[in-house]
């Protein structure tokens, strides 16, 4: 489902003397449907970078990034947009809050963008929010005023609203208490069971051990130190 071949990435900082910072080289990875692969490596080794490359948020310098039949590294913007709507989900570390949109609609949005009727979308959103212990009285409020943990749970609910065949999860259990963590891991298990290919970053070892089928150490993709 997800297949990376020889992906490399560097940043060129034009306004700082054109400093070139290579961050990744030769990244190769395969994730099959129903598999959950955990990315590990020291902080700054490139775990989030790899995830952003797969999502198309970062431009790959070389290599191919196949998600289903689409090569994200070479695809047209509209192909990536379509991919993100229907195939590839991404739960980032931070919820980007749009002022005024109620939490329920934030979670329902991925369903609305694939054409789900609004009532059905909101029902599913309600179920997810309830499962993640967001009290109903908060559903009509914008998450701008929520606590970090509450925002993260809204973020997760949104990521799982639609059954994406491929999912990228960046620290989904960070800042969650034990009960909510268990719920999220349950969502991941359910996604695996329906055949989603998942890549996750978990700092929490126990969580990692529970849901990941194998691990990939991204420091293996670090650029070779200049001689």
């Amino acid at each position: 489902m997800i297949e990376l071949q020889n992906v490399s990435k560097s940043f060129t900082l034009h306004n700082q003397g054109s400093a070139v910072i290579p961050v990744m080289e030769g990244a190769t990875l395969v994730v099959k449907p129903g598999e959950c692969v955990g990315l590990i490596g020291a902080s700054g080794a490139g775990k989030s970078t790899l995830m952003r490359l797969i999502y198309g948020n970062y431009l790959a310098a070389s290599g191919s990034i196949m998600v289903g039949d689409t090569d994200v590294a070479k695809a047209e913007p509209r192909e990536i947009l379509e991919l993100r709507r229907k195939t590839l989900g991404y739960v980032s570390q931070f919820l980007r809050v749009v002022p005024r949109v109620p939490a329920l609609d934030v979670v329902a949005e991925p369903l609305l963008s694939v054409g789900t009727p609004i009532e059905e979308a909101r029902e599913k959103a309600a179920t997810l929010l309830a499962g993640l212990n967001i009290p109903e009285r908060l559903w009509s409020l914008s998450p701008t005023t929520f606590s970090g943990g509450e925002q993260q749970r809204v973020n997760i609910a949104r990521g799982f609203a639609y059954d994406y065949p491929a999912l990228l999860l960046d620290e989904p259990t960070a800042s969650l208490d034990a009960q909510n963590r268990a719920t999220v891991l349950g969502l991941i298990e359910a996604a695996k069971a329906r055949g989603a290919a998942i890549i996750g970053i978990f700092h929490d070892e126990a969580a990692r051990e529970q849901v990941c089928d194998r691990f990939v150490d991204v420091s293996g993709f670090s650029p070779k130190a200049a001689a």
């Binding site: 948020n57 431009l59 947009l81 002022p99 949109v101």
Partner: protein
């Protein structure tokens, strides 16, 4: 799928000064393209060339019309272009005053495009105008008020209603939130997002405000001195800018 709009090598010069040059892109149904740049970047010139307000010196702007398929707007006859401007296209000006008739009531402003395409039933026209006022969150008790009695944000929302009532497929917006208070901007942007999704609109939005494009645009074009220096998915251009100027723009935005 046929692109809704194909822009090919559009250029506009002001004597020897470059207004904009070498602009090419395709826009598909449902896509929102943001064009950012600082003053003098050529973004407004480009928008006006695309919308038919200015004649470009070079290039084609091919729109997929409902009746005749892809047609080059630059060489299209003026009557046909003006008709398109009232039906399938919309233009939201930065200053609502440029896009509204200030001495005509809100209902009349919204109804004008309907009357221009032949609607002749007062009751129906009024009902549709009231419906659209609701959609842009203006109380329909104000249907007979003149826009001169509205706040800036309300005027802008009225302008949007006036433009969208005929269900256009392509909307051009020139700094739609410019000059509005921050909270008013937020409301307007949210409204636009909702309408774009509900109506499956394609849009081209010119702005200098990166937060606006982050929220509204799927794709982004960065302009400097009349040239397009970078283009791509909005989040990619903003999070992983490749061109030096884009990097400068992104790093200049103050975080709140």
């Amino acid at each position: 799928m046929t692109p809704l709009l194909q822009v090919k090598d559009v250029a506009k010069m002001y004597g020897v000064r470059i207004g904009c040059t070498d602009v090419s892109f395709d826009l598909y149904p449902g896509e929102v393209m943001g064009i950012v740049g600082e003053s003098g970047s050529g973004k407004s010139t480009l928008l006006n060339c695309l919308a038919g307000h200015l004649a470009p010196d070079r290039g084609e702007v091919i729109f997929d019309t409902r009746a005749d398929g892809p047609v080059d707007m630059v060489t299209m006859s003026e009557p046909a272009r003006r008709m398109l401007g009232r039906t399938d296209w919309a233009f939201v000006h930065q200053h609502a005053r440029d896009g509204l008739r200030m001495s005509v009531s809100a209902g009349g402003n919204i109804g004008e495009r309907l009357m221009a395409v032949g609607d002749r039933h007062y009751g129906d026209i009024r009902a549709r105008a009231a419906d659209w006022l609701g959609r842009v969150e203006i109380s329909d008790a104000r249907i007979d008020d003149r826009p001169s009695a509205f706040s800036g944000g309300m005027q802008q929302r009225l302008q949007i209603a006036r433009n969208l009532v005929t269900g256009p497929r392509l909307v051009f917006m020139d700094e739609p939130t410019g000059g509005l208070d921050v909270s008013v901007q937020a409301r307007l942007l949210d409204l636009l997002r909702g309408l774009v999704r509900e109506m499956g609109l394609s849009a081209i939005i010119v702005t200098h405000d990166l937060a606006v494009v982050r929220l509204l645009a799927d794709r982004l074009m960065v302009m400097k001195d009349g040239h397009v220096v970078e283009t791509g998915l909005t989040d990619q251009v903003l999070d992983d800018p490749q061109h030096g100027y884009t990097q400068l723009l992104v790093s200049s935005v103050l975080q709140v």
